[in-house]
Symmetry: C2
Subunit: 134 residues, 2 copies
């Protein structure tokens, strides 16, 4: 019978490894893992406030502030004031949208390698089990 601690431990080991190598592949595009995740989220879901991003990623506000500032400085996003003057609306720049497919392509090829040992059926089962976590 497999132990809870071994599951969590192996999960961390693999995710650390996957992200390390994902960063290698993103480096060619001048991006980091966290920044790519935000681009992916905004591309699929349109403009969002910082709070929405914070809640979606289960990450604290200062983390998002920092990463978005870097992304703004590097021309990936714009941050405009919303109707609520406290809030900032985050949008992908046209330049980011143009680059999106190229980046997605190399990320997809990396992700395929990471999952190549799983059959389609196993991927489905795996995904269902991940959803049951927490």
């Amino acid at each position: 019978m497999v132990k809870n601690q071994d599951i969590i431990h192996q999960l961390n080991q693999k995710v650390r490894y996957i992200n390390k190598h994902l960063n290698d592949c993103l480096k060619n595009h001048g991006l980091y893992n966290a920044q790519w995740s935000i681009i992916y989220y905004l591309y699929k879901n349109g403009a969002k406030t910082q709070t929405e991003i914070t809640q979606y990623f289960h990450v604290e506000a200062p983390t998002v502030t920092r990463t978005l500032k870097r992304m703004e400085a590097n021309g990936w996003i714009s941050r405009t004031q919303g109707q609520d003057k406290r809030a900032r609306l985050i949008q992908l720049t046209d330049s980011a949208k143009e680059k999106y497919f190229d980046i997605e392509k190399s990320v997809a090829s990396h992700e395929e390698k990471m999952l190549e040992q799983l059959s389609e059926e196993e991927k489905n089962v795996f995904y269902q089990l991940i959803q049951k976590l927490v």
Copy 2:
């Protein structure tokens, strides 16, 4: 059919959430996730060099140097020079060994919560699938 990118994305989402809450529970013992992982590893496998720790966790050398220095400063480990004068042998202190079971107990209770939606059979399947990653 589930997409590779969704699997990796959800994996990251869940692991980020699990570790965030694991840190909450470790805070009571004056520990962080990475430090607890090293204690766990040394407790199960005995004294190791920094290189062995680096290789086991798929982490770069400077990361390990830093974390071990903090752990030494806080009395969790000792770092002694090996026969190879370049190498350092890392050992748990007696104090760390004494505290081990208490910490493991609260970590175990946290991990159980994270996995409570999975049956024993599902946990086995999940563990097998995790092993197939990378």
